[in-house]
């Protein structure tokens, strides 16, 4: 009996207060996350129906469209060629980005690394430059007429490359993303490296390991969780590539308005006023991103976090 009373009191308290504390998070989550997603889902099932010339009052109504918008999205070759381009982009970007980030992190983590602090900041700094600004900067460097590189080549009588040409533009965009993203991933990996107990290195060295062997056999395996996380982030960022091609597009004929799936969504929503198609494609892209991310996690989880299970 005496033990029951505090229990009851505790439960009485529990009914109100926690909800009050939770309320801001829950309300924000509902209002700015679930509600927009729900609205996008709703819009994706609607379409416009116009009667006659569409000029009189009330000649435009919104009707239920079923899965029509999804059907149109799935059968749109522009969307898929954009998706394919993004896949190629990811296949090139993710390994290069993580390879470079890992290399820089390992180099900085070397004992007696010189100018470590300066190099770390210098490599990280581009991450602080917004993608739009970075793309404008690089755009000036790419455009033959304004590029100092082309200026030099012409001086030596060499042929001028058009880095925003049909094929080159793909690598031009990858380069911008690489320039902006390596620093961030390097910092994440470097921080994870600093968290590894130094005794491990010490005993490895006593056993006769060279620095390279330490890096390959101790550092990289222990970095696996951090590598998985950075890979996942980079993959998601890849699927969402938008600012760089969008900013470069007005400078060249090589980037169409549907160059990536997100650019197509933007075009549908804001340039051709078809927010219904845009909503359906958004839902599709979100679903694909989710499946790919979860699939990747599942694939690597055992290997990376194996010791935890």
């Amino acid at each position: 009996m005496p033990t029951a009373t505090p229990g009851v009191r505790r439960r009485g308290r529990r009914t109100g207060i926690p909800y009050v504390f939770l309320a801001p998070a829950v309300i924000l989550f509902l209002a700015f996350f679930l509600a927009p997603i729900g609205y996008a889902g709703y819009l994706s099932l609607r379409k416009v129906r116009i009667s006659g010339l569409g000029l009189g009052r009330g000649s435009r109504t919104e009707v239920f469209a079923g899965l029509e918008n999804y059907r149109n999205a799935v059968t749109d070759s522009e969307l898929w060629s954009g998706a394919l381009r993004v896949l190629g982009y990811g296949a090139l970007l993710v390994p290069t980005m993580l390879g470079l980030a890992l290399l820089f992190a390992l180099l900085l983590d070397r004992p007696r690394a010189q100018l470590a602090r300066f190099s770390r900041t210098a490599i990280f700094l581009p991450y602080a430059v917004p993608a739009v600004i970075a793309s404008l900067l690089w755009g000036f460097l790419y455009l033959p007429a304004t590029s100092p590189l082309n200026d030099l080549l012409v001086r030596f009588g060499l042929p001028e490359p058009d880095l925003l040409g049909t094929d080159a533009v793909f690598y031009a965009v990858v380069n911008i993303a690489l320039w902006g993203g390596v620093g961030f991933n390097m910092i994440v990996l470097y921080t994870a490296l600093r968290a590894i107990p130094p005794e491990l290195y010490e005993s490895a060295r006593l056993d006769g390991c060279s620095e390279i062997q330490v890096a390959l056999r101790i550092k990289i395996p222990l970095l696996a969780p951090a590598l998985v996380m950075t890979t996942l982030f980079t993959m998601i960022a890849t699927l969402q590539v938008f600012s760089e091609p969008m900013t470069l597009a007005p400078m060249t004929n090589s980037i169409s308005s549907t160059w990536t799936p997100l650019m197509k969504i933007y075009r549908d929503a804001f340039a051709t006023d078809d927010r219904y198609a845009a909503a359906a494609t958004s839902v599709l892209v979100a679903a694909i991103t989710l499946v790919l991310s979860l699939g990747f996690l599942r694939l690597v989880q055992k290997r990376a976090f194996g010791q935890e299970h």
Binding site: S51, L55, T166, M251, N253, S256, D273
Partner: protein
């Protein structure tokens, strides 16, 4: 304690909503109230606030509140959203080609009853853009943008070129120039600027949309457009005209250093050149656009905008009064020219005192504005359709692809037609044929 506070808040809230309810009933009155009214106005013209201030001083009973907006396509998206949310402004500046989109979304009102008599103040071509060739009037024209040819007079002399009077001569000039120097192009064909291409096509007699009773006619790939596309496709393919887009850092540099000798553009070009190629001041001259047949006098429009009244406005009559004053009153149009660098659509204003002397950038061409007025009168009118945005987007992608892939431009024009018709069909517009 808390309960009384809550009650107080509730009472105040109720009071406020009651007051609000009262105001809104009086506003809903279809008989436009004669008392003081307040209008909201969206515009992107620089210094337009000076005109609004002037109106407010002279008309204290009709107070206009200005909200500055981003121009072009952005304001259309914003107007669509605001109208959907139920709170659009009373008046908005709108480009001509966006009018049908806004009318079809029920954003703009038909103001024919009040605005019909304004017809004679504008050229037929301009007026057709706000009526879509119907009995309705959807906006009051503000600025006209007839196209003309701008060229570097100094470089033309240097390379011994004469100003081309026909497109055939223009092509010859482009070839002659390339024969003399590999550093320069006569001009560039831009896949980024559909409005520019539309203007060139209008000159050749293109008319992309039309209304025939209860049907839309869509002919984006008509003979005129095809002729223009094939012509430029030939020149780009031949390598005598550049294929790089306009309005890029590269293009700015080309204008500045003379890599491009000519620019078929509109009457507002001096304003662009001042900003993008300041070093070339006084070196340019303006001539009518080359013609398809010698002796003809035709041109098209690249851009231009109007003032529309929204369907949701509760003071339409007052709003039309303001729009009329803004775009046709002598004092107002003088201010439009001087303060906002607008080339007025109203014909009287085109020969008004504000346009007596040439723009600073063209100080050497005394007859700049008299010539511009002559050209403006020859601008072909067109009917814009309800999905110009789709046509324009397709232009950028299809011509970009044609230039990079070195394929004929005719296919790009066909792609524009297909995309336009498909989009209209999908949305349920009735199309003839």
């Amino acid at each position: 304690m808390t309960r009384t506070l809550g009650a107080k808040i509730l009472a105040v809230a109720l009071g406020v909503s009651l007051v609000a309810a009262c105001t809104s009933t009086s506003n809903d009155d279809p008989e436009e109230p004669t008392g003081p009214v307040e209008l909201t106005f969206w515009s992107w013209a620089p210094n337009i606030e000076k005109l609004v201030d002037r109106w407010n001083t002279d008309n204290p009973e009709t107070k206009v509140t200005l909200s500055k907006q981003a121009g072009g396509a952005d304001i259309v998206t914003k107007l669509l959203t605001a109208a959907k949310a139920g709170n659009p402004p009373d008046l908005a500046q709108v480009e001509y080609q966006a009018l049908p989109t806004l009318v079809s979304n029920d954003v703009l009102a038909d103001i024919a009853e009040q605005a019909k008599p304004l017809k004679e103040k504008f050229s037929d071509g301009t007026w057709r853009q706000v009526t879509l060739g119907t009995d309705a009037v959807y906006a009051v024209p503000q600025d006209a943008a007839p196209m003309m040819l701008y060229y570097r007079a100094d470089l033309f002399t240097q390379y011994g070129l004469t100003v081309p009077g026909t497109w055939e001569e223009f092509a010859q000039t482009a070839r002659t120039l390339r024969g003399k120097t590999k550093k320069h192009f006569l001009t560039t064909f831009s896949a980024n600027d559909p409005g520019w291409f539309a203007g060139l096509a209008q000159q050749a007699g293109a008319n992309w949309w039309g209304i025939d009773g209860e049907f839309w006619k869509v002919t984006v790939n008509d003979a005129g457009t095809r002729k223009v596309a094939d012509y430029w496709g030939g020149l780009v393919g031949e390598g005598v005209v550049d294929g790089k887009p306009m309005y890029t850092p590269e293009w700015n540099k080309a204008l500045n250093d003379g890599s491009l000798l000519a620019w078929p553009s509109a009457v507002w070009a001096p304003g662009v050149l001042v900003g993008n190629a300041p070093a070339t001041k006084g070196k340019w001259a303006m001539a009518p656009l080359p013609q398809w047949t010698a002796g003809e006098n035709r041109t098209g429009n690249w851009g231009g905008s109007s003032t529309g009244v929204t369907a949701a406005s509760k003071h339409k009559a007052a709003a039309v009064r303001f729009a009329t004053w803004l775009n046709t009153d002598a004092a107002a149009t003088t201010m439009l020219v001087r303060e906002c660098a607008v080339y007025p659509a109203a014909r009287d204003a085109q020969s008004g005192p504000a346009l007596a002397s040439p723009p600073d950038f063209f100080a050497n061409q005394a007859d700049f504005y008299p010539l511009a007025k002559q050209i403006a009168d020859t601008a072909a009118g067109v009917t814009w359709g309800p999905n110009v945005n789709v046509t324009y987007e397709t232009y950028q992608d299809a011509f970009g692809k044609a230039i990079t892939g070195r394929t004929p431009f005719g296919a790009a024009v066909d792609a524009m037609q297909t995309a336009t018709v498909d989009d209209m069909r999908k949305n349920g517009f009735t199309i003839a044929g």
